[in-house]
């Protein structure tokens, strides 16, 4: 039981890093990135591929972060010429591109089989202790990601990003370089997502193209929407709740007599219903974005 809880905890923390990243893009800046899983995939594959060549995991994380950051900046740059809705479609295409490369570059990525036996962290420990140590490590990383996201959101940069979301022309008229602001937030978010991907691959010791399907992005969208678009704390709250829900529905077959395929379908259906429900009934999420109080006079 403890191990199961630790497992869910690790997944929730890994997803929370991803949700913080997506919240910076969608919630704060209003950039509808439907291809978030591409950045996760870049991070996960970097760690997994380098691990299979016995390179220390930290190098895999660094390589993944650099590659994802560059990809993020590039995608952000596309926003210069594309209107926001077309940009959203382009991000979806990017995610499919990453998935298809992963699927077809057999020699490199293991093709459809993916890469298994990715070694995790704290390999020297016994099972439960190792899970606990992994959980602690990822919670620390999540803490750092949370502080970074919060600091960015609450500073001048975050203010400019929100203004870009709400009224980009106004932001541009007040000498804020809208293109550069978007490029930088995309790069930062992509780095965060790649870290999530690296831990994900290490924790489940596997990464394959099947995990880079668009659903992986929409799962994170659900977390951010449920938590509250634009609220940093909300992203973490949403990630924990949706991870528990999504993981908990694995036991659907214990309650009702359905086939494995049907059960998988039901799990996705539940997530879809929750997402729709929140979008219709409680758009602002559980922890809504706040209007900050005015700074006191000196």
């Amino acid at each position: 039981m403890v191990e199961y809880l630790l497992g869910v905890g690790i997944l929730a923390a890994v997803y929370a890093i991803n949700a913080l990243s997506l919240n910076l893009q969608v919630g704060v800046t209003g950039l509808l990135n439907f291809g978030q899983v591409a950045f996760v995939g870049i991070g996960a594959y970097s760690v997994a591929i380098l691990d299979s060549h016995d390179v220390p995991w930290i190098v895999g994380f660094l390589v993944g972060a650099v590659l994802a950051g560059a990809a993020g900046a590039l995608v952000g740059r596309l926003g210069r010429t594309l209107a926001s809705d077309y940009w959203a479609i382009a991000t979806l295409a990017l995610a499919e591109l990453v998935r298809l490369v992963a699927l077809n570059q057999d020699g490199f990525t293991g093709g459809a089989q993916g890469l298994s036996a990715v070694s995790g962290i704290w390999t020297g420990m016994s099972t439960t202790a190792r899970e606990a140590a992994t959980f602690a490590t990822i919670v620390v990383v999540l803490g750092i990601a949370y502080l970074v996201a919060r600091r960015v959101r609450n500073g001048q940069y975050g203010r400019v990003l929100v203004l870009i979301r709400e009224n980009p022309d106004l932001a541009a008229s007040l000498r804020h370089n809208v293109v550069s602001a978007k490029v930088r937030v995309m790069a930062l978010s992509a780095v965060m997502a790649s870290v999530c991907g690296g831990f994900y691959a290490m924790y489940i010791s596997f990464i394959g193209p099947g995990q880079l399907l668009p659903f992986a992005t929409f799962l994170i969208f659900t977390m951010v929407v449920v938590g509250g678009l634009g609220n940093t704390t909300g992203a973490v709250v949403g990630a924990v709740l949706i991870t528990v829900l999504y993981d908990g529905t694995r036991f659907v077959r214990d309650w009702i007599d359905v086939s494995a395929d049907q059960a998988a379908g039901i799990r996705i259906l539940v997530i879809g219903v929750v997402l729709l429900g929140f979008l219709l009934v409680r758009t602002e999420g559980l922890v809504p974005e706040k209007v900050k109080a005015a700074h006191a006079r000196r």
Binding site: V148, R151, V152, G155, Q156, Y157, R159, V160, V162, L163, R165, E166, N167, D169, L170, A171, A172, S173, L174, R175, H176, N177, V178, V179, A181, R184, L188, G230, E289, V291, K292, A293, A294, H295, R297, R298
Partner: protein, 265 residues
């Protein structure tokens, strides 16, 4: 300060600007008037980098800024406001004021993560400045209020305040009185006059002629994308072509005549 030389701008074959030239000298307050569709907003957009003119040049402080990005034009000291303020409801008045400032350090990810102390100092200075501007435009009591929930007139005032956060050399105002109640209109005119005495150059696009004569030293009249008159506000009625541009529209004879005139020219 600002020199616009023969700018042209076409939208789908229709000439919004057809070789308009404008000059605004430092410290002047200039009005830009004209009937609906005469190209006033397009001219403003071309000057502030929101539209790229098809032909002609825009010079700001002697620098060619034709086709430059809006933020690059703004960095040179030209800040504009918009006809519809459309301020966000998710940002407080104070937040919006700070967003109007240029906090060099706080705007980079690196500095906002690493140099906390300097970022804090920079922000504290901006907060001081924001308070003094808010007091001046009498919005200080609403500092914690969501900007988008203010009245139309207050939003216009706040837009002006946000623009002032960046110490603009020239302010371009797009219909500052649209949707503003009469008493606030008077107040706005006073603010603009005061700003002018402080050395801010002003270019105001406006329909309200009384406001124009209160605020501007000189007006340009734009009709069908071309400047048809430039004079002091009080002398506008001496120009028959101005009256025709405004009033002649309704009479079909005038429209035919002006169409003829255009064909001939």
């Amino acid at each position: 300060m600002l020199v616009v030389e023969g700018i042209k701008k076409h939208f789908a074959g229709i000439a919004a600007l057809d070789g308009a030239s404008i000059e605004v000298r430092a410290g002047e307050s200039v009005g830009l008037v004209g009937p609906n569709g005469s190209g006033k907003s397009t001219a403003l957009n071309c000057c502030s980098g929101f539209e790229r003119p098809d032909a002609g040049r825009v010079l700001l402080l002697g620098k060619d800024v034709t086709g430059k990005e809006p933020w690059d034009v703004a960095k040179l000291g030209l800040v504009r406001t918009f006809q519809h303020a459309n301020l966000p409801t998710k940002m407080s008045v104070m937040d919006l004021m700070l967003a109007g400032g240029h906090l060099v350090r706080g705007e980079t990810i690196r500095h906002s993560l690493v140099s906390w102390k300097r970022v804090r100092e920079e922000e504290a200075d901006a907060v001081d400045k924001a308070w003094s501007i808010l007091e001046r435009i009498k919005l200080d009591k609403l500092a914690g209020h969501p900007g988008g929930k203010l009245s139309g007139g207050q939003q216009k005032l706040l837009s002006l305040g946000m623009a002032l956060m960046g110490d603009p050399k020239i302010l371009m105002l797009d219909e500052p009185t649209a949707g503003v109640n009469p008493s606030l209109r008077v107040e706005l005119a006073e603010h603009l006059r005061k700003l002018q005495t402080e050395g801010v150059t002003l270019l105001t696009v406006e329909h309200d002629m009384r406001f124009i004569s209160d605020v501007c030293d000189r007006v340009y009249v734009l009709d069908r994308g071309a400047i048809i008159a430039s004079c002091a506000p009080a002398e506008l009625s001496d120009h028959p072509e101005v009256l025709e541009a405004y009033l002649g529209r309704s009479g079909s004879r005038a429209v035919v005549e002006s169409a003829d005139r255009r064909t001939l020219s």
